[in-house]
């Protein structure tokens, strides 16, 4: 199935948000996730399965003023 992650199209196997982040080596504690433009609370990462057409934004903190 196809999803969009940070503006890029990605073909993935069915997986939870938690599983998707872990697959990328991302520490879920260090990021925030929007699923289809709604904030997804960290407690829901494991129980939320990605669906075809979903759009994810995964952000973190970087240096800034």
């Amino acid at each position: 199935m196809n999803i969009t992650v940070n503006g890029e199209a990605q073909a993935i196997e069915p997986v939870s948000v938690q599983g998707y982040l872990e697959g990328l080596g991302i520490d879920p504690r260090r990021v925030a996730v929007e699923l289809n433009r709604e904030i997804l609370p960290k407690a829901e990462y494991a129980g939320t399965l990605l669906k075809d057409g979903d759009s994810l934004e995964i952000v973190h903190f970087v240096g800034g003023g």
């Binding site: 925030a32 960290k42 952000v59 903190f61 240096g63 800034g64 003023g65």
Partner: protein, 260 residues
């Protein structure tokens, strides 16, 4: 009141340092860490950006920051609409688990001046949503008052354009803002060297926020220490109460008892 008990209070939280610093533009993380340490800052700003999903080898900012020591103040830098700024704040809260945000909504890319109409819109929504909002704003007393009335925890007027190093271009407006609002006034942007920071504090500002002034200096770590001292010196001088300015001299030594 000794310096150690002269706390900066924002939304009921006490801070010993009145200098807030950014984490951008450093040559590398060790330099940033050393500069943060030298600055004495307790509040540091960070930006919110997309994770690079194709290159996962890059180090993460938070790997280098002691979260027991620093309060993160996520910013909405790069946002040009209220909606984008609000969305960024909500992501920041989820990532950092804190309600503190430095709200900036920019008007154009050349000046990076705030779009105050969008800023007010975003501030209203965010305050209602439970955020502790510290807005970067023009040095406009009317806008600062509106931001206070909306429930912002501080106001952060610019001294000069972001990254310009031009110093405090309108000290009279800053003074009027200090007379107009009761929330802390923090000069954000424009500080180029230590005397600029001292001037802001001598005017009576409650704090100063800077990034480029330190990170862009030839020796950022030394400049961080200079800013640390300048903010403290300016605050002490403000509290000590300066002498009035006079046009003519006033002798410091007795004018009687001179030898004949």
């Amino acid at each position: 009141m000794p310096e150690t008990t002269d706390k900066l209070v924002i939304a009921g939280r006490e801070f010993n340092s009145r200098l807030m610093v950014g984490t951008g533009k450093y040559a590398d993380y060790p330099q940033m860490v050393a500069a943060l340490e030298a600055s004495g800052a307790e509040i540091i700003t960070v930006a919110v950006r997309r994770v690079n999903i194709s290159d996962r080898n890059k180090e993460s900012l938070l790997d280098h920051i002691d979260l027991k020591k620093y309060t993160l103040l996520p910013n909405t830098a790069g946002c040009y609409t209220a909606d984008d700024a609000i969305r960024t704040c909500r992501l920041a809260r989820e990532a950092g688990l804190s309600d503190f945000v430095k709200l900036e909504v920019l008007g154009d890319e050349q000046t990076l001046f705030p779009d105050n109409q969008e800023l007010l819109k975003a501030a209203e929504v965010l305050v209602k949503d439970g955020f502790t909002v510290l807005p970067y704003t023009s040095d406009d007393p009317i806008i600062c008052k509106r931001l206070e009335d909306l429930g912002c925890a501080a106001v952060m007027p610019l001294g000069a354009p972001i990254g310009s190093g031009l110093g405090i271009r309108n000290p009279y407006n800053i003074r009027i803002i200090l007379d107009t609002v009761k929330v802390p006034v923090i000069v954000d942007a424009g500080v180029g060297t230590a005397s600029d920071a001292a001037i802001a504090m001598e005017l009576g500002c409650h704090g100063v926020l800077m990034n480029t002034g330190i990170a862009g200096a030839q020796d950022p770590i030394a400049m961080a220490e200079a800013m640390n001292l300048a903010v403290r010196a300016g605050r002490l001088a403000y509290r000590a109460g300066r002498i009035p300015m006079k046009l003519h001299a006033s002798a410091s030594s007795p004018i009687t008892g001179l030898i004949k």
